[in-house]
Symmetry: C2
């Protein structure tokens, strides 16, 4: 598998929007076990081994694991305010938790933990997300180990199979769709 | 039905982020007829009759109508960069097209058309979205009537039943969930 053709386009968008920290925030849509959609903001954490899979982090106690088990398909919507462009990235999610037997993925899980800020790491030691509000002291736990991830910490990977890139600033606008077909990315120019 | 308690909180977020035009852009997640999620940026156009239903516009030729027919449930993810807060708004979508027999909704459909900018209206006269790229002259059609919507123009309404409000700037963070139960909104404070 080689670098996907949309990777350089996305890299350019990231570069041109680097003045905005929230240009690395994306919206991740999944499907709930009751068949209804879910949608939340998560932080893009780079590409796995600098290839095509997008890295995120997740807490095993959140709703995502149950949703991914029910339906591993997801669509990320990524809007870049400075350049007025949108990427819709559809693919399959993999949640790498502490029980995953793949050594290289465990290494990646550990590395991304180490790269987090201390405050981001500490959030994984907070009281159970989504449960009735706990006492305030449960949100000031001691900082967890910098080297070894807490057990609820997961690496979340998105392996894209379709990317829809819309440039609102084009004349009139430009839109390209990338589809993965048997290890080859096909590009099509479509109407916005 | 009275004004939902999250309406004033959302109004405050809109006010505090009014310097950013894209603070009115939200990500709408729906489910495709194949069961996979879809996610795209759309522009918030206010509330229907200043009550609880969110207004958007849509093109009948886009993928949304088929998705809404398959599953009317949606979740909007709305991130406000200035105030570091997120609203997740889940509810049922209604697509008001030109055949809808409800007179007051047709009036709302016409009104929102009239409130659009000329360039926004003209986009509904462009070549079929998502089809292979058409000749460039099809993207410079004459401006459509300002008073009467083109037939592919739809008003899209989201009728919320759950709102999840996360304030990342809290100490540590604040998160409130609003659920609609038999015409009454219940509020619960939960862990972030």
């Amino acid at each position: 598998m080689s670098l996907a053709p949309w990777r350089s386009i996305l890299a350019r968008a990231l570069h041109r929007n680097r003045s905005l920290p929230y240009a690395r925030y994306v919206q991740l849509a999944t499907v709930r076990p009751n068949g209804k959609p879910a949608n939340r903001t998560i932080v893009f954490r780079g590409f796995l081994n600098d290839m095509n899979q997008l890295k995120f982090v997740s807490d095993n106690r959140s709703e995502k694991p149950k949703q991914i088990e029910y339906c591993p398909w997801a669509e990320v919507c990524w809007y870049f305010p400075n350049t007025h462009e949108q990427f819709r990235i559809a693919g399959k999610l993999s949640l790498i938790d502490r029980t995953n037997p793949d050594e290289s993925l465990q290494k990646a899980r550990k590395l991304i933990w180490q790269e987090l800020s201390e405050s981001a790491r500490t959030q994984f030691a907070w009281a159970h997300p989504g449960q009735p509000r706990a006492a305030s002291e449960t949100f000031s736990p001691p900082a967890p180990s910098q080297s070894d991830p807490l057990e609820q910490f997961c690496l979340l990977l998105l392996d894209p199979v379709e990317v829809d890139h819309l440039e609102l600033r084009g004349e009139p606008q430009n839109r390209h769709q990338y589809h993965l077909e048997e290890d080859t990315w096909k590009i099509e120019e479509v109407n916005p």
